[in-house]
Symmetry: C2
């Protein structure tokens, strides 16, 4: 039954040595593509037409305790994070989430009070972004597994895809980077960091926020040419925009969070490493038409958010950082299951 | 953060001692209910209005290798089964599935060729019922986890719910029962059963079929007053219809599959036990308005299916079986994770 479209040698490898992205590619190669699909694999969400220019927008993302729950994270926080992971993808496309289903895999020995905490965390996450949990199921599993699938509707012409960036567009983010990479290190080991900074860093990991208000305002402004969620890391997201839009990107301002800067100074860990290669950071990375920059900035300011310009879209395919007069290539590394 | 709406003592118990149904009840008690939800918890699917009398219909069901994959089942079959589990719920509501998302939890040591088999099984399952896999994600997990979420649209007045049965309605099923319960026993241990029978029984477990054509035809016929998928077992489904419709049920014909009969005779296992308490059987259990019986039968025959009348809807709340002149109560037992 197995059509081996892939390299035969690679079929002998295991999931652990192949890595998440290659696995997804392999799987996609064996699926029939739905005709007339509005948004398919390769963007943050999937979307299909349900008539009259209206799209059903769908997203599924699974949290597994083994790899996605750092030490110190409560069940409530883990459940809420599983929701935020999904909401963030809707935010990056400018889509309002309506309802979600949750499949829970629970270890047999899990206490009932912890199950209640999970339910409360799911509900809190959903309500925070105006959505509701409307169904799901549970079963026994070795790990705690929280599989969320999210549903919403959108006008076809309002969806912000990865593929529309044009040379000359401005490159921007909805907030600074680096805190979650630093925060994860803080949670994993004892490091000499001031308590106040440590708290902010830890909180960025334990209580992440999706930029839904920003995404909706930006979609409404019509100023955006391309957008992506940054949960696989800023570097990876930059490369995805470049790949999907067939452009290059030049970053001339490092969007580093102030706490990440203090952390980097204290620990001698490279700040750029924290900013570009962290992952599980839920900002939106966008490209904006130059003549619409003011409108975009205003739209985001109106809902209390910020838009940080970090560079420009260029011709070619390179993703580079310009600093101190020299250009460095930004490697296409990012957060990846099985490999990290 | 935890509002303890439940019994405080029960919060000290574990998932393994509480059982799946009680866990789902606990979780639901801590979720805000979406206003104006068309179909909520307590039916086979969830559904919300997306305007103009149209509903978005959603279902999520997770397969975990530990509990849902019997010995002898291939990865291809497991993936297909995960799809069929979800399709069956759409079938029972009369809803055409359009698209699905799949979140895969994969053990690190899983071979790439087995991942390809999973992809092929997912695709085969989806295409068999006219649907497509349009997105998903993967991550590392200790068990193989296949979390499917299914999407479709439906007219509000076409949905067959659990709640519409009326005294006097006929009770029917789309096929006979007992083969999967027997098949599971055949797969789990060596039993003295003729090879031909053994093959049919094993196949009923390894290659289950959802009654989608039947469900769509019946929804179209408008003859159905209530319907439910039978995957938790016939007895449990009977009790669910009775509970949701606030009626009683009387079964006067045992819908036993011929292979299950042979198996029961050979092994001295009670045939009624196999028929009522098997589970993972994907027939539709329906109640049909008496004056529409002929229309329903014709609609199902037209697509090559069958409709077996097994009893009647009664007043009261009892679910009983009449056989040999005496009435026996059918216990509300069924397949349940954590407990079985």
């Amino acid at each position: 039954m197995v059509r081996t479209r892939g390299n035969k040698k690679s079929l002998l490898k295991t999931a652990g040595t192949i890595g998440e992205r290659k696995i997804i590619e392999m799987i996609q190669g064996h699926l029939d593509l739905m005709p007339n699909l509005a948004v398919s694999f390769g963007d943050d969400v999937s979307a299909l037409s349900i008539g009259r220019g209206c799209l059903a927008v769908l997203k599924a993302d699974m949290l597994v305790s083994k790899t996605d729950v750092p030490p110190g994270m409560t069940f409530w926080q883990a459940a809420r994070k599983a929701v935020v992971m999904n909401i963030s993808d809707f935010a990056a496309k400018g889509v309002k989430p309506m309802a979600m289903l949750v499949s829970l895999g629970l270890p047999k020995g899990m206490a009932a009070k912890d199950v209640v905490e999970l339910a409360e965390g799911l509900n809190a996450g959903a309500r925070e972004y105006g959505a509701y949990v409307i169904g799901g199921d549970t079963g026994e599993a070795s790990d705690l597994v929280i599989s969320v699938s999210l549903f919403g509707t959108a006008r076809r012409n309002r969806l912000m895809l990865r593929s529309g960036a044009k040379p000359g567009d401005f490159l921007a983010v909805t907030g600074p980077f680096g805190n979650t990479a630093a925060g994860l290190r803080v949670l994993l080991s004892k490091l000499d960091v001031p308590e106040k900074v440590r708290d902010v860093l830890a909180k960025s990991v334990l209580l992440p926020h999706a930029r839904l208000k920003e995404g909706l305002a930006l979609s409404h402004s019509k100023a955006v040419s391309a957008a992506i969620d940054s949960s696989d890391g800023l570097a990876w997201s930059l490369h995805e925009i470049a790949r999907a839009s067939n452009v290059g990107l030049m970053i001339d301002r490092l969007p580093a969070a102030s706490e990440a800067k203090i952390f980097a100074e204290r620990t001698k860990i490279d700040l750029a490493e924290l900013v570009f290669y962290g992952g599980e950071e839920y900002e939106i990375l966008l490209t904006i038409k130059p003549d619409a920059w003011a409108a975009a900035e205003k739209a985001v300011a109106r809902i209390g958010g910020q838009l940080l310009q970090i560079g420009k879209v260029t011709r070619g395919k390179r993703v580079v950082r310009e600093s101190g007069g020299t250009k460095h290539t930004i490697e296409p590394r990012g957060y990846e299951h099985f490999k990290t």
